[in-house]
């Protein structure tokens, strides 16, 4: 048990027994290794379910939408930024929340680890800097830095941006990270090349919508992909429909996405759809000096008019 787990359980027990919150949202061990799942704890004697390790990549802000009760929510850096976004978008009230911040050292990419192992992984354990995966007749240890989720290796907001409780010391933020090398590479392609590149990127998509469902931003009661009158986008595997889904999904996240990586993590076929949301993140940063979810005071880029907003593209 990591010490963060122990602190989390202590905080959760205290909040639940004092009645400060009715429910704590955190993580519990998944049914298979490296797949921790969301966990809703309502009684102090259930806090033993809560865990914290390098497999808590799901974004828990997703479970706050329109809740009415008082909630304690476990939040790493990106989750806390999505909590802020949820508050700004009136999906939850700040007064309802006790944010239990967890300074984060990055989440492990289960695919990277699985790919480097010769068989099915049955157990994982970890130290501060290394992760060990074991299975039938093998045991492999990896430097954690080598098996981080891509978004975590590029993360510059590891500490929660808002919190009422803190489950551990604040960590040093990564400096000098080049967040957009992958986006620049796509920007530099010719339109023909780029069309082909996205065709290949999206070819395996089975339209399961796991990426949408994992995302805290996608809370519309009826998503445009599910509408049938009018039907904005076809429901099959036609490449044009798949592409339309992905571009629209990304645009709906413009100025809101925190690059938490929950979408990419959830994808059963391993598509890096974060490339789209990152392009918009980069644009927001360069054109509007905006980063999502950093403050409860600032209004989002799409929510605010400034006379000097760039508009050279309009004739």
């Amino acid at each position: 048990m990591t010490s963060t787990t122990a602190i989390l359980r202590e905080i959760a027990a205290r909040l639940l027994s004092s009645g400060a919150v009715e429910m704590v949202i955190g993580f519990r061990q998944g049914t298979i290794p490296m797949m921790n799942e969301p966990c809703f704890v309502r009684k102090p004697d259930e806090v033993g379910h809560l865990v914290w390790d390098s497999h808590c990549g799901i974004n828990l802000a997703n479970y706050l939408t329109d809740r009415k009760e008082k909630i304690g929510i476990v939040a790493k850096g990106c989750d806390s930024r999505n909590v802020v976004t949820h508050i700004l978008e009136n999906k939850i009230r700040r007064e309802q929340l006790v944010v239990i911040g967890v300074p984060c050292r990055g989440m492990a990419d289960k695919r990277k680890i699985a790919m480097k192992c010769p068989g099915e992984i049955l157990r994982v354990s970890e130290t501060a800097t290394a992760i060990t995966a074991e299975g039938e007749g093998f045991s492999r240890t990896f430097e954690k830095a080598d098996v981080l989720q891509h978004n975590c290796s590029l993360c510059i907001h590891r500490n929660p941006v808002i919190y009422d409780e803190l489950a551990g010391d604040l960590v040093e933020e990564q400096q000098g990270v080049d967040r957009y090398a992958d986006v620049r590479a796509v920007e530099e392609m010719t339109p023909e090349r780029r069309w082909k590149y996205f065709e290949d990127l999206l070819a395996p998509c089975i339209r399961c919508y796991a990426c949408r469902n994992a995302c805290p931003l996608c809370y519309c009661p009826t998503c445009f992909v599910d509408e049938s009158r009018p039907q904005w986008v076809g429901k099959g595997q036609d490449p044009i429909d798949v592409r339309t889904f992905h571009f629209l999904r990304a645009y709906h996240c413009a100025g809101r996405c925190t690059d938490c990586g929950a979408c990419e993590r959830a994808c059963p076929v391993g598509i890096n759809m974060r490339l789209f949301t990152k392009k918009l993140e980069k644009d927001c940063r360069e054109l509007f000096d905006w980063e999502a979810g950093l403050s409860l005071e600032a209004r989002p880029a799409l929510d605010q008019y400034r006379p000097n907003d760039p508009n050279d593209f309009i004739r």
């Binding site: 339109p191 780029r194 069309w195 044009i240 429909d241 571009f247 593209f313 309009i314 004739r315």
Partner: protein, 50 residues
């Protein structure tokens, strides 16, 4: 997105600016015609699919 840049145009034209509308519409038409027929984001008609 992989669409040629010249295929997408934005303009803000007041209902009082008829001459601007004509100018912009002409320019857009010429720019798109120069690019030739669109090949992307086109689905075959249903009859061909069946």
């Amino acid at each position: 997105m992989g669409i040629e840049p010249g295929r997408l145009h934005f303009s803000w034209i007041s209902s009082a600016e008829s001459t601007k509308f004509v100018t912009v519409a002409t320019q857009v038409t010429e720019a798109v015609r120069a690019l030739g027929p669109n090949t992307r984001f086109i689905q075959p008609p249903l009859a061909e699919v069946a």
